[in-house]
Symmetry: none
Amino acid sequence: MRPVSPKQQEIREREQAILDLAQTMLLEQGDQGLSMDRIADEAGVSKGTVYQHFASKEDLLAALAVRSAGIRAELFERAATFKGTTRERMSAIGAAAELFFTLFPHHEHAEHAFKASSHAQKVPAERISAMETCHFRCFGAATGIARDAVAKGELVLREGQSVEQICVGLWNLHMGAFLMRDLETFIDIPAITDPVPLLFANAQALLDGFGWQPLSTQHDYVAARARAVAELFPKEAKAAGRS
Amino acid sequence: MRPVSPKQQEIREREQAILDLAQTMLLEQGDQGLSMDRIADEAGVSKGTVYQHFASKEDLLAALAVRSAGIRAELFERAATFKGTTRERMSAIGAAAELFFTLFPHHEHAEHAFKASSHAQKVPAERISAMETCHFRCFGAATGIARDAVAKGELVLREGQSVEQICVGLWNLHMGAFLMRDLETFIDIPAITDPVPLLFANAQALLDGFGWQPLSTQHDYVAARARAVAELFPKEAKAAGRS
Amino acid sequence: MRPVSPKQQEIREREQAILDLAQTMLLEQGDQGLSMDRIADEAGVSKGTVYQHFASKEDLLAALAVRSAGIRAELFERAATFKGTTRERMSAIGAAAELFFTLFPHHEHAEHAFKASSHAQKVPAERISAMETCHFRCFGAATGIARDAVAKGELVLREGQSVEQICVGLWNLHMGAFLMRDLETFIDIPAITDPVPLLFANAQALLDGFGWQPLSTQHDYVAARARAVAELFPKEAKAAGRS
Amino acid sequence: MRPVSPKQQEIREREQAILDLAQTMLLEQGDQGLSMDRIADEAGVSKGTVYQHFASKEDLLAALAVRSAGIRAELFERAATFKGTTRERMSAIGAAAELFFTLFPHHEHAEHAFKASSHAQKVPAERISAMETCHFRCFGAATGIARDAVAKGELVLREGQSVEQICVGLWNLHMGAFLMRDLETFIDIPAITDPVPLLFANAQALLDGFGWQPLSTQHDYVAARARAVAELFPKEAKAAGRS
DNA sequence: CATGAATGAGCCTTCATTCAT
DNA sequence: TATGAATGAAGGCTCATTCAT
């Protein structure tokens, strides 16, 4: 345990405060509204100070993306420890994803910016690999559960199917739903005002389609999900509910 | 039918030429490489002329997004006319979506920009409603098929389910897959190098999960898809295959 | 003869005006005092306009250096046409150099900046070669005279000597004198308040050292120089005398 | 002799270390690469410490210029002690100048910066007078020899000539040659790839032109120069040769 | 109608200098 | 006395938009 000096602590906090601010701005005004000038202004520090924390605008955005990706990975891994059937555990991951995107609605944007920057080699390799690790942890948590299911016979893969395919499917379903929410690209029909609530049901349908036992017709996954949230993410759920 | 004067025809063509160019640039260089200067330069016209066609940069991007959204709607509606079972017809829509995103990989970007601009009220209401119409046509094509299926008893909705939900699910699945492709946000696993090929199988699994008859275990939807492409989109498939 | 439109003429003039300004600023405040902002401000135009004429700060400095180098080349070539002995003609070149550095005291600076920029490849190859051409013309004018002298037997090269050596020597002598003037790197002695007046005498001594006939002990080169200035550079001498 | 406390000694050493570093950076990267941040970083001290030694960046550069000017003065004075004819001694000074500019190619730069700063009154008068003293010592060493030559009858001044003129001429010749080397402002002719080797021959021609006995046609000054280097500057020559 | 020079706000970044710890 | 985080004025450059020709 190395003791962190109060000074260093303060610096650390300022860094997080800057990231918090950038997050808010990204969310409220998109990429366009984000400039180092504005960040400095709103954070109440000088531009030079921002640059002491982040080597460039790209670096800042990358740090932002990595930070939330790390939290996501943590949530996914926690979800994977849920006590229940493999399918319940997978549902818990779905719940984690929902919580994450409720708490970090900017993440999409940040990851976009991250990719755009890393192409231009303006982001240190360190951050890129950190990001990759986060993705790996998320995907690993999900595929791990699916492999458990195969091992237990609760999931029987047909020819050409793989655990990776299933996980990519779930991932896509979630990404698409959150993208839709962000773009508000859905028609104004009474039936659908927000794609996210539908998401859980669609994910269950997808798992049913793969024959993952027990099917949603045989088990109450809504209840399982509620239990997962209560047991694993009480704090996060509270935070998500408040905003 | 009001006859279009040659002059107007010429203007129309120039407008399309500018949009073509912007599309190419968006595709090749992303947002960064897109400036009114460059568009005018490469289109071989002056900036003033570009501004005579489009009120602002945002307007131009919006026009671009609307144009491709219109093409998508057309593809979806054509897919809905596929001669086959309701589920085959729905698969044809999936094929249309894939073709569209192969031919217009920039569309995501454009729609993003569109939304950002329209939030800032920089886009005339006219274009916004045009965009909404496109979305409505796409969604309508899909929900129409699903309702047919319900009417024919090939799809039996359980409590709380709706045709809208199913269509949103499919839409999300596709959006997520194309987003993944664009961000290259997938882990480097031999099993998965591109999420798009998996997409069709996942979409079928989702439909299976909803119990849409006949299930993919009972029918060869890969063949149906191939037939749909051949019958409905021969030109598009060729264009997509070439690039 | 293509007629220059009034518009183009105006643009041309503005370009020259900007260069004039940069020249003055370079002279008065050195490299440090030169910024695109200030140039634009003082020229009474916007920054964007400056950038429409010059691709970058480096380009502007390069253009400045090339412009004066071109004038120098012109002066040297005119000097080479002086009607007199080869040594008188060489002295006329010395007079040209003196006039040049009186009229363009900033040139040293500009050339310095030019070299610094071209190393960083921020200057179009076109300008670099233009500069080289100027140097070549100057050097060519001088070596041409020296070769004439050799041909006429007025200059007899000893072993290891070459016309190039002599010309480099004269060039160095002049450069050094003007550098000294600019740096004011000379001691406060009654005998020497400005190195430039000594320059002519030293150049003659150098030529005497090479045995270039007729020696300065046998001929009045001060008078020859006066005649050269009167015949070749009346306007320049007047301009130089005024400032 | 006031004894220097160990503390003061340490401070002194640190000061020299910082100057060494700044010198290296100036040499390797030019003005651009020189910042107080970098100097502090590479010297392994904090910026605050650097500012304890030097009042400003200008002051640091001035100190650097003064330091090398002092070394030059020392070399010149040593050269003046060479055992030989007055003209051989003057040649030894030429050798000293060449060695100096080989060992301190940055000096030009530093002196330039020095002048620019002192104009802006950013350099304490103390340093300015220190610099003047250095120049005086250099010039004094040279004029001293020339006066010896006059006294011995080896140099006969004609009307209007002075020892100062001769020394300024030599100084200019050297400055010009080193400037040319730094700017690489010489044409790409097989005859001349570097003006410095020609320098010695041109200096001799200049002295011949003044009639300084014995003339270079009567004496081997190349050999004398070699002897001067061997006897007076063995260490410096070795250092110069190595790089 | 077309043109393209001019505009000027805004962007990212650097760096000499200060000062609380 | 040493430290180095904070400062903020500049600097170079871009680009959407306008308007006289």
